[in-house]
Amino acid sequence: MNNTDRGIVKCELELLVNGKRQPVVIRSADTLLRVLREQLGLTGAKAGCENGDCGACTVIVSGTAVKSCLMLAIEARGSRITTIEGLEDAPIQQAFIDHFAFQCGFCTSGFIMNCQALIDRHPDANEAVITEWLRSNICRCTSYEEIRKAIHAVIDRE
C-alpha cells in the first residue's frame, strides 16, 4: 500500500507478458485489454463486447482464463499474462486449423486461450466440462462443433 493516504491514479509498472517484462504507463482505470492492445500492440485479444459476455478478449493470467476487458491492468501486477501471441505452435492452434474451427476469426484467439486453459487444467476433460467451459465464449459464425472437435483432437492425442 502507498505510504500516503492517496491511491494510485497513474503509474509506471512492468507487466510480465508472454515471458517478457514489459514496461507500461497506465491509469488505474485502464483495463488489461486496453493496455495489451494499445500499449503493447498485442491485438490478438479482441475488444468485442467489453462487457464480459463474448470472451473474445480472453487471456491466461497465472494459469487462469480471464476476460481481459473485466480486469484492470493494475490488478495483473506480479502475474504471468499469456496472450494468443505467446502461444507458439500449441497443439490447440493446429487443431483449430485441422478442424476448420473458425470462419471469420474474430472470436478465435479468445476461444483458443480458453481452450488452452481448459487443456492445461483438465487434460482429461469430459464432455460436461468441455461444454461448461465453452459457454464462456461466443462464436457468431457458430463454429461450436468444430471447436469441440479441435479440443477433443488435442485431449484424445494427449
Binding site: M1, I8, A29, G55, V66, K67, C69, S136
Partner: protein, 279 residues
C-alpha cells in the same frame, strides 16, 4: 474503456482497507471496495458508477480464507466463485455458483462481490440464507459478526464503508438434502427468470429465491405455507404465489405472468424432489 480516473489501493490488512476507505471518503472520492471488479468495471465503462477510489481487497488474508474452523466454514469475501465450485466444502453453495455467469467470469467474480453487488440477482446469497450463515463485517469501530439475514436478506443494508470480510456457515447443514435450480429464458448462463435454492431440515423445508423479484430473499412466511401439512401441494403453491411478498418482475427477460408460471412449476418440482428425499 473507463472514461474517468480513480485511485487504486491494495491494502494488506483489513484495518488498512477500512482506513483507506474513510480517508478517501473524507476527500470526497466516493470510494468502493473492489473484489473481482466485474460489476464495477462493467458499470464504470457505462458511466453508471463513478467511484473516485477503489480499494482492492484481494490482498487481505481474512478475505482469502476458505477453511473449517471447528464446525464453521469460513469463506473469505475475495474468494472467487470458481474457488467455491472447485473446492466444494459447502455442496449446496458449490452447486448454486456452478451456474452463475460463465466459467471464465466465475474465475473473477468473488463471493463478496456477488453478495454486496448492485446487480440484484445475487444468487450466491441463497445458500447462505438457508443455513443461517453469519457475516463478518469490518468498519471504523472494528469487526462485528451478524446474521446474514440481518444485512443481506433482500436489499443489502451494510453501513456505509463497512467491508464484508467473511461468511461463516455451520457444517451441520451441509449433509442435508437440497435442491438448487435456475430457470432462464434461453441460455443457461443468462440471468434467472426463477432461481430457487431449497434445503430440507428436520423442522421443514427452507427456500430462498432470486430472479422472481428485484431482490433475492428468504421468507419465513413463505416457508410456513410450504410446510403446512393441512394443505395439498397445489394449494400451498397457489397460496405462496397469491401472497408473494414483493412485486414479481415484469421485464424483457420475462413478463410477470410468465415468471409466475415458471415459479409455480419450479416450486412444484422442488417440493416434490425434496419431499421424496429422506433426512
Amino acid at each position: 474503456m473507463i472514461s474517468f480516473d480513480f485511485e487504486y489501493f491494495k491494502p494488506a490488512t483489513v484495518e488498512e482497507a477500512v482506513r483507506a476507505f474513510w480517508q478517501a471518503e473524507a476527500r470526497g472520492k466516493a470510494p468502493i471496495y473492489y473484489g473481482g471488479g466485474t460489476e464495477i468495471i462493467t458499470m464504470a465503462r457505462l458511466d453508471q458508477l463513478r467511484p473516485g477510489a477503489v480499494i482492492d481487497i484481494k490482498g487481505l488474508p481474512e478475505c482469502n480464507d476458505m477453511r473449517f474452523r471447528g464446525e464453521q466454514l469460513a469463506i473469505g469475501a475475495a474468494r472467487t466463485l470458481t474457488d467455491v465450485e472447485e473446492t466444494p466444502l459447502f455442496p449446496l453453495l458449490a452447486d448454486t455458483v456452478r451456474d452463475v455467469a460463465d466459467h471464465t467470469n466465475r474465475n473473477k467474480i468473488t463471493v463478496g462481490g456477488n453478495l454486496c453487488g448492485r446487480f440484484f440477482y445475487r444468487e450466491v446469497l441463497l445458500p447462505f440464507l438457508l443455513v443461517d450463515s453469519l457475516v463478518v463485517l469490518a468498519g471504523p469501530k472494528g469487526m462485528r459478526t451478524v446474521p446474514v439475514h440481518q444485512v443481506l436478506n433482500g436489499a443489502p443494508s451494510l453501513a456505509r464503508g463497512e467491508l464484508l470480510v467473511q461468511v461463516l456457515s455451520d457444517r451441520r447443514y451441509f449433509g442435508l438434502p437440497y435442491v438448487t435450480v435456475k430457470k432462464t429464458k434461453m441460455e443457461r448462463i443468462d440471468y434467472p427468470l426463477v432461481r430457487i435454492a431449497a434445503l430440507r431440515t428436520e423442522q421443514g423445508i427452507r427456500m430462498a429465491f432470486s430472479g422472481v423479484s428485484d431482490i433475492p430473499f428468504r421468507s419465513l412466511r413463505i416457508e410456513a405455507i410450504l410446510n403446512d401439512a393441512t394443505l395439498s401441494l397445489a394449494e400451498r403453491i397457489d397460496r405462496v404465489i397469491a401472497t408473494w411478498p414483493v412485486p414479481i418482475l415484469n421485464d424483457i427477460i420475462g413478463s410477470a405472468a410468465y415468471r409466475a408460471f415458471v415459479l409455480r412449476n419450479t416450486l412444484r418440482d422442488t417440493m416434490t424432489a425434496l419431499e421424496r428425499r429422506s433426512l
